[in-house]
C-alpha cells in the first residue's frame, strides 16, 4: 500500500513541521479556546495573535462586519503584550507540545527589533512571524509593508536581533507583491507568509455611515482566495525561500491549490470561525488527496502549477 509511505512533513527553513496546516494569526487566539474542540497538538503549528511589546487596546467597536463570503475586521491589533503572553499563555502551548510561531509587530524599527530580541530569547517559541502588513493602524504605519526601502530596513533590524526562523508576513495592499517578497528575502527572511487582509469597507444605507467604527477594515475569508492565490503565485516566481500561503482557505482543495501555486505550507484564518475543527478536516483531506493521487510527499505538489 502507498498509504504507509505518505509523509506530510515540511520544512520552513530551519523549522521542521510534521504537517503543513497551521492557523493564521488573530484567528486562533493563543490556542486555548480551540483546545476545547480538537487536539491542537495535531496542527503543523499554532500561529498566535499578533503581539507587541506593550499591551494594546485596539480599535473602537463595532469591529466586525460580514460581507459576501467574507468578513471585514478592524480589531486594530488588540493584544495582551509580549510579557503577559510569555507568562500566561506560552506555558499552555508548551504543555500541548505544538510548534509555536509568534506573530509580532512594532511601531518603530527599534520596537520591532526589541520585540524580536525578547521573543527570540524565550524558550518554547519555534519561529517568529513579523507582521509588516496589518492595514488597521492609523496613517504612517503601514509604510513598513508598502515601501520597499523601509521594509528592507525593518527586516534587517529584526534579522540582527534574533536567530529564530523569521517569517515575513506580506501585505496584499501593494502594487507588486513579488517585489516585496524579494525585498524580504534579500533582507534576511527565512520564509514569506502571504497574504494578510485586503483593505475594505462597508456602509449602512439606513444610517448613511460606515459599518465599522474604524471605517476601514481588513477583508478575509473565501472572498479573497483568488486574489491570495495569485499573490502566492507571484511570490513563488520571485523568491527561493518557502512560502506559507493563506487567504480564504476552508477546504483541503483550497489548501492544495495554494501548494500548487507555490506554498510549502498553509494557514487557515477565518475558516476557524466557521468550523472550529476545520484545520483537522483540511489535514485529513490533504492526506486523502495524496492517497488518491499516489503522492508520497508534498514536494510533489509545491509549485506544480507553474
Amino acid at each position: 500500500m502507498k498509504k504507509k509511505t505518505i509523509t506530510l512533513k515540511v520544512n520552513i527553513g530551519k523549522l521542521k513541521l510534521k504537517n503543513p496546516v497551521m492557523t493564521a494569526s488573530g484567528t486562533f487566539g493563543y490556542g486555548r479556546e480551540y483546545a476545547e474542540f480538537f487536539d491542537i497538538s495535531r496542527l503543523g503549528a499554532v500561529v498566535v495573535k499578533g503581539l507587541s511589546l506593550k499591551p494594546r487596546q485596539g480599535n473602537q467597536p463595532p469591529r466586525i462586519v460580514e460581507t459576501a463570503s467574507g468578513m471585514l475586521n478592524s480589531i486594530g491589533l488588540q493584544n495582551i503584550g509580549i510579557d503577559s503572553f510569555i507568562e500566561n499563555e506560552l506555558p499552555f502551548l508548551k504543555k500541548v507540545k505544538v510548534p509555536v510561531i509568534v506573530n509580532f509587530f512594532g511601531d518603530s524599527i527599534p520596537e520591532y527589533a526589541e520585540a524580536a530580541a525578547k521573543l527570540g530569547a524565550t524558550k518554547g517559541i519555534h519561529a517568529l512571524e513579523m507582521n509588516i502588513s496589518c492595514p488597521n493602524k492609523q496613517a504612517g504605519w503601514s509604510i513598513f509593508g508598502t515601501d520597499p526601502r523601509v521594509t528592507s530596513k525593518v527586516i534587517m533590524a529584526v534579522r540582527k536581533a534574533t536567530s529564530l526562523p523569521l517569517i515575513v508576513k506580506l501585505s496584499p495592499n501593494v502594487t507588486d507583491i513579488g517585489l516585496m517578497a524579494k525585498t524580504a528575502e534579500d533582507a534576511g527572511a527565512d520564509a514569506i507568509s502571504a497574504i494578510n487582509t485586503l483593505t475594505g469597507m462597508a456602509i449602512d444605507i439606513r444610517s448613511r455611515k460606515p459599518k465599522l467604527a474604524n471605517i476601514i477594515g481588513g477583508l478575509s475569508g473565501p472572498a479573497i482566495k483568488p486574489v491570495a492565490l495569485k499573490m502566492v503565485w507571484e511570490c513563488y516566481k520571485s523568491v527561493k525561500i518557502p512560502i506559507i500561503g493563506m487567504g480564504g482557505i476552508t477546504t483541503a482543495e483550497d489548501a492544495i491549490e495554494f501548494m500548487l501555486a507555490g506554498a510549502s505550507a498553509v494557514a487557515v484564518g477565518t475558516g476557524n470561525f466557521i468550523n472550529p475543527a476545520i484545520t483537522m478536516e483540511i489535514l485529513e483531506g490533504i492526506t486523502s488527496f495524496m492517497e488518491e493521487e499516489g503522492i508520497s510527499s508534498l514536494k510533489q505538489l509545491k509549485g506544480e502549477a507553474h
Partner: protein, 267 residues
C-alpha cells in the same frame, strides 16, 4: 475512520424539530442535538450556521430561550440574510451549532429577583424566569416586559404556565401601560414600600432600554445585570471582534459576557 476526535461536545449537529412562526417576523426554533451537549443555563448562547455553504459565512449568535427534554429552543426575529434563511428551515433539517457559550445570569438566592425584558429580550429572560421558578427556595420573580405593540408581547401562555404575571408596557398602549417599561419599573421601585437592597435586576433588550435601566439602577444603588449583543465572528473569545466598553476596559461579549453588571457597562 477518523484519525482525530472532537475533545468535547461544544461543536455539534442539531436537527430542527420545529420552526414555528409566532407572529409576523418572530419565530420559535426547536433544536434537538444529535449528541449529548454540555449543560446550558440562562444567559448562554449558541452560534448557529444557517447554511452549510460560504454565504452567509459566519455563524449567527442566538440566546438560549428554553431547554427542552431533547434539546433547546431559540426565539428569533428575522432581520437580515441569515435569519431569513433560518426562518425557511423545516423539521428534519440539520444545522451546525457551537455552544453553549458565554456566561450566565448570576441569580441571587437571597434577593427578590426583578426581570426586565424589552422586545426580543424576552428570549433569554423567559428562560431565566423559568429556571428561577423551578429552583426550590427561590421567590417568584417579578417580570417587567416592554414591547412595541400588544401583538409583539410573546410567551404569554408560557409565562402563565409558570404563574408569572408580567407588568407590561407597550409603545402604543395596545397592551399594559402606554410608554416605557423602565419608567414603569422606576415608579414601582420608588413607590416607597421597597428596600432596594433586597432586589436584584436581570435584563435583556434594546440598547436604549438597557442604558436607561443602568442609569436607574446606578441612581438607586440596585444591583443589576444585563445580557448584551455585539456582532460576532468566532463566539469563543479568539477574534476579539465583539468587544464592548466597560469600566474594566474593553471586554468580549462572547467570552466575558454576554451578561455584564449594569454598573460596569460604559454606554
Amino acid at each position: 475512520m477518523r484519525s482525530w476526535k472532537y475533545v468535547l461536545s461544544k461543536l455539534f449537529k442539531a436537527v430542527v424539530t420545529e420552526n414555528k412562526r409566532l407572529i409576523k417576523d418572530h419565530y420559535l426554533l426547536t433544536l434537538s442535538p444529535l449528541k449529548k451537549i454540555k449543560k446550558n443555563r440562562p444567559g448562554n448562547f449558541f452560534m448557529i450556521s444557517v447554511e452549510s455553504g460560504l454565504d452567509p459565512l459566519l455563524k449567527r449568535p442566538f440566546s438560549l430561550h428554553r431547554s427542552t427534554k431533547n434539546g433547546f429552543q431559540i426565539l428569533y426575529r428575522v432581520v437580515g440574510k441569515g435569519t431569513t434563511i433560518l426562518s425557511n428551515k423545516t423539521p428534519g433539517d440539520i444545522l451546525d451549532v457551537i455552544g453553549p457559550l458565554g456566561n450566565t445570569f448570576p441569580v441571587n438566592n437571597k434577593h427578590r429577583n426583578i426581570l426586565v425584558a424589552g422586545g426580543l429580550g424576552i428570549a433569554p429572560i423567559f428562560g431565566l424566569a423559568d429556571s428561577i421558578v423551578n429552583s426550590p427556595g427561590l421567590e417568584q420573580p417579578l417580570l417587567f416586559y416592554g414591547a412595541r405593540t400588544g401583538k409583539e408581547v410573546l410567551c404569554k401562555k408560557n409565562l402563565a404556565d409558570i404563574s408569572i404575571r408580567p407588568v407590561i408596557a407597550t409603545d402604543d398602549g395596545t397592551a399594559g401601560k402606554k410608554g416605557n417599561i423602565v419608567k414603569v419599573l422606576e415608579k414601582f421601585l420608588k413607590s416607597g414600600s421597597i428596600n432596594v437592597n433586597e432586589y436584584s435586576i436581570y435584563a435583556c433588550g434594546p440598547k436604549p432600554m438597557l442604558k436607561a435601566l443602568s442609569a436607574l439602577t446606578n441612581k438607586l444603588g440596585i444591583k443589576g445585570y444585563a445580557a448584551l449583543e455585539q456582532s460576532m465572528a468566532c463566539g469563543i473569545g479568539t477574534c476579539l471582534g465583539c468587544v464592548v466598553h466597560t469600566t474594566r476596559g474593553l471586554k468580549c461579549v462572547c467570552k466575558e459576557g454576554p451578561v455584564f453588571p449594569l454598573n460596569e457597562i460604559v454606554w
